[in-house]
Point group: C2
Chain length 199, copies 2
């Protein structure tokens, strides 16, 4: 079986560490790599090593970046008065993809979750407050997730930032584009009715 091919078993074990990838899928991926030309496998291994070598966090906004400060922080075409707070780099990327925001960002690297031992000290709150003090920021757009943790983080942020005289806003909560009302969950419909707007 696999015990007699230790290098294969080792790769399967490494691949199975990925979230959502079990032993069966890992075996399938390993067999795929085995059939690929050596150059393909080397390209993948090289990309993994390069990721850890080149990517770090921006010292201003804490987004992932190859240069510090990151290209978004140094882009002169962005509005200094608008700052968007997100939980993770993935969230920042989603907002950039929507092409709807031309300000700057701050990545908290998580959300408040007291049950998991994540308080403000575990996140990039201190750095955010330091950025805001004496800055040109007029509006802080809170784009944390619409989960219990994201809601708690948004409320905490509002309490900390409003005293600085900065407007605090949050992404609209409602029915997503393309949905049938019939299949949208109750909590979302509830929030959409509460947040209804004049046509």
């Amino acid at each position: 079986m696999l015990d007699s091919i230790p290098s294969f078993a080792r790769l399967v074990a490494e691949l199975a560490k990925f979230p959502g990838i079990g032993k069966k899928t890992a075996t399938r991926l390993a067999f795929f790599l085995l059939r690929q030309p050596r150059a393909e496998a080397e390209a993948l291994a090289g990309a993994i090593l390069e990721l850890k070598e080149k990517i770090g966090f921006c010292s201003r906004c804490f987004h992932i970046t190859e240069s510090d400060p990151c290209p978004i922080c140094t882009d002169p075409g962005r509005d200094e008065g608008l700052l968007c707070v997100v939980e993770q780099p993935q969230d920042l990327i989603a907002i950039e993809r929507s092409r709807s925001f031309r300000g700057r960002y701050h990545v908290l690297q998580g959300a408040l979750s007291p049950l998991d031992g994540i308080g403000p000290e575990q996140l990039r709150f201190v750095e955010l407050l330091q950025r805001l003090k004496g800055s040109a920021v007029r509006e802080l757009l809170v784009a944390t997730n619409f989960t219990v943790e994201g809601d708690a983080t948004a409320l905490y942020l509002a309490g900390q930032v409003r005293p600085l005289g900065i407007r605090v806003t949050r992404l609209a909560h409602g029915i997503p584009t393309g949905s049938d009302l019939e299949f949208v969950d109750d909590a979302t419909v509830n929030r959409a009715v509460e947040g209804r707007r004049d046509l």
Copy 2:
């Protein structure tokens, strides 16, 4: 977006080459790697490179192996009179896992599929016939898959090997363990009735 982080984009592109892994899953895996300690990423990259360096095909049975001939071919405890033919190394591993067979193997590295241009010359048929001639093999157990290609390969094999005076058998075709008859497909029930046995 991702264009500004080329090393990240490159890893996502490499991971998305895996079968069944799209761009979204690849991005999720890349973010996971980013959060892992450097040693973990190096272990994965190392395992990929080691796979291509160490693993080749056994020159006797064409199973994957780190040593040639492979541990199964050199195991003195196996019955030389029994040879099991499979399509792929995965199939051999499945039979070994079942602990039901103590003979040797021959991996064809595929199945006949004229529409895809795969004839006997593209598979390890010649090597199989050479192994059989003048050997101690009494029985050839054909364990190709129960697909159109696997069936065709089994028939072709039987036609080639029977003239050598070797008994040719095939895995039993029927209802799998743990199934409800109600949910088994018609073709399988049909074969199970045809192949019924005395109790």
